[in-house]
Symmetry: C2
Subunit: 295 residues, 2 copies
């Protein structure tokens, strides 16, 4: 398969669905404008694409799980908006554009994040989305996504991130923080896709193991790109981690060792995907792509 073309095609599908599920509407006022501004600022749509691929890996069709894929992207976007706030990372630039609070003010940015998170939950319980599906699977998928997003997942990881700034780097902390901050939602993406598409328990658990490795590798890659990447290509300020005294993999084990750990993780993930058969080929390719981006 040609991964670049696959990603571009999937991204287009996701963008169309997001446009349909959160359409522009003058009556929506400033809050909807701010939500859409960040949602359509050019994300890679990695989490939705993983959700669609998770469904396919267990024999489902992408359109069956598109509402969940879009909910995942809304959750990811809300986390970026809040993360960029002055009280958190205080970033002015995101994907080459002014961050939400730079464009709309801090108050509305807080609300836009809240609105996107809530809208994700609206989607995950929308009767129009689960009409032809077992409601118990819809609830289970929503549960997996929300647990991953909450204080025992992404939000918890952000809190550890805040608390660990300018502390002595420590591998256990950085591992724990990355697993929560980034790993949990990426894992929930493949997991929820597989649950909604009718995957059995063994398949779902297999994909959870895949997701944990990809999630951690993704954060390692992100750390490496922040340290070594090209600001113009990334569309955001690099060396931000250093500026904020952030605990990262390269800071703890060095860039060479971090890159090795990242490759080990994505190779393991690719192997796990291959065990599910050809329907999981895109997942295997996606895993390796995570680390290829850093070269």
């Amino acid at each position: 398969m040609e991964l670049k073309a696959y990603l571009a095609q999937r991204r287009e599908l996701v963008d169309e669905a997001l446009e349909r599920l959160l359409p522009a509407d003058e009556a929506g006022g400033d809050i909807l404008k701010a939500m859409r501004y960040s949602l359509f600022a050019g994300g890679k749509r990695l989490r939705p694409i993983l959700c669609l691929a998770g469904a396919e890996a267990v024999g489902g069709r992408p359109e069956q799980v598109m509402f969940c894929a879009c909910a995942l992207e809304m959750i990811h976007t809300y986390s970026l908006i809040h993360d960029d706030l002055p009280a958190m990372d205080d970033d002015d630039l995101r994907r080459g554009l002014p961050t939400c609070h730079k464009k709309f003010g801090e108050g509305l940015a807080v609300l836009a994040g809240d609105g996107l998170l809530t809208q994700a939950m609206v989607l995950l319980s929308d009767p129009a989305q689960y009409a032809d599906r077992e409601p118990l699977r819809v609830l289970a998928a929503g549960q997996a996504v929300m647990r991953a997003a909450g204080f025992q997942g992404m939000v918890g990881g952000q809190a550890v991130d805040l608390a660990s700034q300018n502390q002595e780097p420590d591998l256990a902390t950085v591992q724990y923080m990355h697993a929560l901050k980034t790993g949990a939602l990426i894992t929930a993406a493949v997991q929820s896709g597989a649950i909604l598409a009718g995957g059995d328990e063994e398949q779902v658990n297999h994909l959870v193991r895949y997701g944990r490795r990809v999630g951690l590798a993704f954060q390692i890659a992100d750390d490496l790109l922040d340290r070594e990447g090209d600001q113009a290509k990334l569309g955001k300020a690099t060396h931000a981690d250093e500026k904020h005294g952030k605990m990262t993999y390269p800071a703890v084990v060095g860039a060479v060792q971090a890159r090795k750990i990242g490759w080990d993780l994505v190779n393991q993930a690719a192997e796990l995907a291959r065990e599910l058969g050809p329907a999981a080929d895109p997942l295997a390719e996606l895993a390796r792509y995570i680390m290829e981006r850093t070269h």
Copy 2:
């Protein structure tokens, strides 16, 4: 019935359930501490109590809907935490205690709000809570609550509130803003309770009409208390609306007329409750209590 005793007993039930559903845990770190700090800061538990009463009004039992009642309180608490932030209302005091960001810092306060909102959704899709219930009713209740909380409900109302500060007072705007900001979630409280307890469509719609009136009256009462109330009794700074140039009912139509509108609304709501028979007596009493607080 003796309303004061009823409220105290219900409040205790809700507090016990919240303690069980979000227990203290050293491993939860700062984020859980901040979430619990605001959740157990002494709220009246009005929304949960309305949810329980909504269930009883259609023949259900309070314990059947307690998980949803607690989710509503988590949503309400998150909205207060974010509303108190410097970028929004910039309040230092809430229920007689330092606000969340005063106690834990702004970054963690943003995350504590995010964590509570997400945890509400975890509850609303928790398998342990819907084991003996039609999953479609659980999804429908979650949907009603989340729509009410989102950009077409509470979050949308907050955004209108931000935009309308220091604008010329205008009755249509204040009505629209209050209906979204406060009315939507209060309506969803009785509505979700009735849906989960097996209420039929007519009963649910009847309770939605009740909830809209109570929700609007509640905000009018809040405006009146901010203007005329006793800071020590309320546990928060009064005259905050004036300070922030907020659009309120008393500011638009005067205190006398605002009080009259409030009483008309709660009398209508009490009448609607009585039409549902004696099981809805608590709802009738609760409606009148909203305005009695302002005297």
